[in-house]
Point group: C2
Chain length 214, copies 2
Amino acid sequence: MKLYSYFRSSAAYRVRIALNLKGIPWETVPVHLLKHGGEHLDEQYRQINPARMVPVLDDDGAILTQSLAIMEYLDETHPTPPLLPSDPLGRARVRALAQTIACDVHPLNNLRVLRYLVGTLGVDEEAKNAWYVHWLQQALPVLEAELAGNPATGRFCHGDIPTIADCCLIPQLFNVRRFNVDLTPYPTIVRIDAECTQLPAFVDAHPARQPDAE
Amino acid sequence: MKLYSYFRSSAAYRVRIALNLKGIPWETVPVHLLKHGGEHLDEQYRQINPARMVPVLDDDGAILTQSLAIMEYLDETHPTPPLLPSDPLGRARVRALAQTIACDVHPLNNLRVLRYLVGTLGVDEEAKNAWYVHWLQQALPVLEAELAGNPATGRFCHGDIPTIADCCLIPQLFNVRRFNVDLTPYPTIVRIDAECTQLPAFVDAHPARQPDAE
């Protein structure tokens, strides 16, 4: 498989973890979101993904977009080890945790939005950073409450094997740390992060380990 | 089942369609996002959903959040009629279409974000509306290109029965029309919308038909 990826994209980072957890061999096709005015805006890349976003998974010519959809696809086509629990309520919980990150935080804080804030709305650096931290601080207490208060939480977000919730959480925490958000109020999140970062699948997916890392 | 819903919330609207397509009896628990300073911000509602968002599905005491996760749960627990195709690539396509709306447009244009733009960043009405339309106009061409260019599109977004992609598309179009966005460049989207709005499941889920409609 080929993954169109940018080392720092947290959506691409999610899929890298999922591919590694599944033990699927894959290669990176780097798409630099900053260089050359943004390689994702090139006509060549638009042919691959009209949404001009990373990641894109190329599975033997089949083109897949949207990180959550890609992870579900990997789970359906490569069931072992599973990225979702087997019971519908557990699956719903894991998907809701993942979507709290992928729908409620990440879309607000990605590059195209920050650029619109600065470029179109004329927001200054301080207000841009406050925006970023605001949406994080809306979601982190929600995640901590769910993870700390639900007996379904185990070594990882749900039970004792990593799920798509962990695949979303760890890339989000990478961004949290870039913005120096204090994680002290979120001990369960910090504990799960420490569990995940012991696993090669997570370590090898880290932005700094990618071929396009700077 | 009970659905905590706000008539105009497009995330709640998605789940109402899904419940109706499945033929599952359900009742509305109205949560008014504007009245009384926002009923979703009440302590009582925070106990139900710490994320303070609608919709929430209460399935005999089990509390489910996040509209995409809820629709997948309904599909897993009530498989007929299906809301996803049976093949992994088809499922990935439907989920990607749904997420193009649920991850790339809706999170940017919902009430809490518009409030932050106006209340915290001091954005005026015109710039707020331009923001709203901008993110729509990023996604609508992507959706139209995928729907018009892919033979998997049928009477609905994918084949000839409605899927979660249609459950997301029709509520988004309700918002599009509120902002008077010209849909002429998107004939496939308009055609699918017309197909859906012939079905009672979609008609009955419309905001104007809800008990809390104004």
